[in-house]
């Protein structure tokens, strides 16, 4: 453990430095023993504009999936002189991307890190109210975050007049009632207003008119967790952490048939192969065939891509997205058609139903894939699937849900077309799968 003014070399994996092997939570005292809340203290001694510039120059890219510069996002909030009054920051902790569990890991173990990051963001944009929008099923996170907020409030870290300039901050935990679309930032804002979580038209962007029509910044939980360290150590330290073009570290995760599924903080730009090696490699008797690099809405990559660096630019150049950085592995015992059907079923069900390509397109795709998996498919179905991927693609829908859903499908058709063809030729699933769970029934079950 470092104490006080640690040297910049000492901390190379800042986000996980407090995470204990026994799974217990970091207390306020433990957090503060290791420069905890000193990043916030430093920010509070600077002007808000200086904090925005500090984070902008560190080039912290959004860890929720889109990779947009956090500092730049803040800079679109009009200055207080121009637009006085209430403004908000929201932590997007509605982690519901299939295969993603990194924010849960950070919040369960080290809630104060998130609270400090959110407080820094709030100060930067001069928001006196900050919300943590937490997904419904994270009961342990909710308990630990609320305790940590209460601790910070009792210690005078949050609350009234927390710096000499008289800045005050109220932090509120909102637990969602469960819906994937709430992760879309404008849908999240609608949900926080107590409405159905349909996305909003942009412009106006939330930074100008967001929650209750006020300037609002929404940042992902992992993104916010980086802020205390960037404030404390500075941008040069942050830049040195990354291996390639991107700065800092990343929480990478692996799930699927590996020996040791989990997540780890690593320098951003660590190779895919190294991350899978940390997961203990594939289980006995199964071979890796491909992987979704960053959650259910990213394009498949294959064994040919194992040496790629997991950073925004490299994965994009290979035709996919780093997304959330938590990969899902496809092995040779798993039916790729069934896996894509499972993903499409998720997106079809979680579609908010607002725009037609998503509301109608995804169930249409689900039906074709169900037929294919059951051995009732035809060759023409494959062309139709590709056509449908275009119809629900970027530019044709109101938000990114349906274009994201198309990504694993279109790439599966590119890399694993033979698997689809085998289903058609053999008239059944070569893996012996049949969509045993009746989709209509599932839908009804959900509508409770």
């Amino acid at each position: 453990m470092n104490h006080g003014q640690s040297s910049n070399q000492a901390v190379t994996l800042p986000l996980s430095q407090h995470i204990k092997a026994d799974g217990s939570v970091t207390s306020l005292a433990e957090y503060q023993a290791n420069y905890g809340y000193q990043g916030l203290a430093k920010a509070l001694s600077m002007s808000p504009v200086e904090v925005v510039d500090w984070v902008k120059s560190a080039n912290l890219r959004g860890r929720g999936g889109a990779g947009f510069s956090a500092g730049l996002k803040w800079s679109f909030v009009p200055p207080l002189e121009k637009l006085p009054g209430q403004r908000y920051v929201i932590c997007n902790a509605d982690e519901m991307e299939p295969g993603t569990f990194k924010d849960r890991w950070l919040m369960e173990h080290d809630p104060h890190q998130l609270i400090e990051g959110l407080a820094i963001a709030a100060y930067a944009v001069q928001a006196n109210t900050a919300f943590i929008f937490l997904r419904a099923d994270y009961d342990l996170c909710a308990e630990r975050l609320q305790n940590a907020i209460d601790e910070a409030l009792a210690a005078g870290i949050l609350g009234e007049q927390i710096n000499e300039a008289g800045f005050s901050l109220t932090m509120l935990l909102h637990t969602s009632a469960g819906r994937y679309i709430c992760g879309e930032e404008t849908a999240l804002i609608n949900s926080l207003e107590g409405q159905r979580a349909n996305p909003r038209f942009k412009p106006p962007f939330p930074q100008v008119s967001g929650l209750f029509g006020r300037p609002t910044v929404v940042n992902n939980a992992e993104t916010l967790c980086n802020l205390p360290h960037i404030m404390y150590h500075g941008k040069d330290w942050f830049a040195d952490l990354g291996l390639g073009d991107d700065n800092g570290t990343k929480i990478y995760g692996v799930s699927g048939r590996v020996n040791n599924p989990g997540c780890w903080e690593l320098p951003i730009g660590t190779t895919v192969a190294d991350i899978i090696a940390l997961a203990g490699g594939m289980q006995d008797g199964v071979q890796l065939r491909g992987f979704l690099p960053g959650g259910g809405s990213t394009d498949f990559l294959t064994r040919d891509h194992l040496d790629l660096a997991m950073d925004y630019g490299t994965i994009q150049a290979a035709g996919s997205r780093m997304g959330t950085g938590t990969m899902i592995l496809l092995d040779d015992q798993t039916c790729v058609v069934g896996m894509v059907l499972n993903l499409i079923q998720f997106f079809a069900q979680e579609s908010c139903g607002w725009c037609t390509p998503c509301r109608n397109g995804l169930p249409f795709i689900r039906q074709i894939l169900t037929d294919l998996e059951a051995g009732r498919g035809e060759h023409a179905d494959l062309e139709q699937l590709l056509q449908l991927c275009g119809y629900i693609g970027i530019g044709n829908t109101f938000c990114a849900l349906a274009p994201g859903a198309a990504e694993p499908l279109q790439s599966a058709l590119k890399y694993f077309r033979d698997d689809f063809v085998a289903h058609i030729k053999q008239g059944c699933c070569p893996h012996g799968n049949s969509p045993v769970v009746n989709m209509d029934l599932e839908k009804e079950a959900r509508s409770i």
Binding site: E95, M96, E97, P98, G99, T100, F101, R104, R135, A136, Y138, D139, L172, H174, T175, S176, A177, G178, R179, Y180, S191, L192, E193, G194, Q195, R196, A197, F212, G253, S255, G256, R257, P261, L292, G296, T326, I328, T334, G338, M339, N342, Q345, F346, Q349, C352, P363, F364, Q367, N433, V436, V437, D440, L441, E442, K443, E444, A445, R446, S447, I448
Partner: protein
């Protein structure tokens, strides 16, 4: 094509002619506290629904009317929010809800076998409740615990690395609990 919209409409035929079920003292106090967090009372809709559900296990039409009155909304507005979210139940559920994750990582790790074993053991289909009112099985989207797949929530407890036999064991324990 799957008639999704028709299914949804059939499942929620709220009847607003039914009598209002007034909020109890706890619900009143808890909802009033939530309203103070927001500049307009409607923003507390989701919290209000969750508070009521915490009390009676689900949200009845009468309670929807009571929430609507409290938050200055129409019952239909409140219902449109209630039916949007996965975790608000508009029908009675069992004492223990087993939310079985059916998303991709859990599917790879054996969801289908779990669903089959559990529905056979309890002799109900997904979405149904046992005759004694003890257990409801709901398939649920990704629970964010893919490192422990396959997973389920049994009540508010997350169960990790399930096998058909460990899941059946948990279901039996839930059935033995007093209703």
């Amino acid at each position: 094509m799957t008639p999704i919209i028709a299914t949804d409409a059939a499942a929620h035929c709220a009847d607003w002619r039914l009598q209002i079920e007034p909020l109890n003292e706890y619900e009143e106090t808890a909802i009033a506290a939530e309203i103070t967090h927001y500049p307009q009372p409607q923003a507390a809709t989701i919290e209000a629904l969750k508070i009521v559900q915490q009390q009676q296990g689900w949200v009845s039409d009468g309670k929807i009317k009571a929430i609507a009155q409290r938050l200055h909304m129409s019952p239909d507005e409140v219902d449109s929010v209630a039916t949007f979210y996965n975790k608000i139940y508009r029908q009675p559920v069992g004492t223990t809800v087993i939310s079985l994750c059916d998303s991709v990582s859990c599917w790879i790790m054996g969801y289908q076998g779990l669903a089959q074993a559990l529905t056979q053991e309890l002799n109900i289909a997904l979405g149904e409740t046992t005759a004694d009112g003890a257990v409801t099985i709901l398939p649920t989207p990704c629970l964010g615990a893919c490192d422990h797949a396959p997973v389920a929530m049994v009540g508010d407890q997350r169960a990790h690395k399930l096998t058909p036999s460990s899941l059946i064991e948990l279901a039996r324990l839930a059935q033995e609990q007093p209703l």
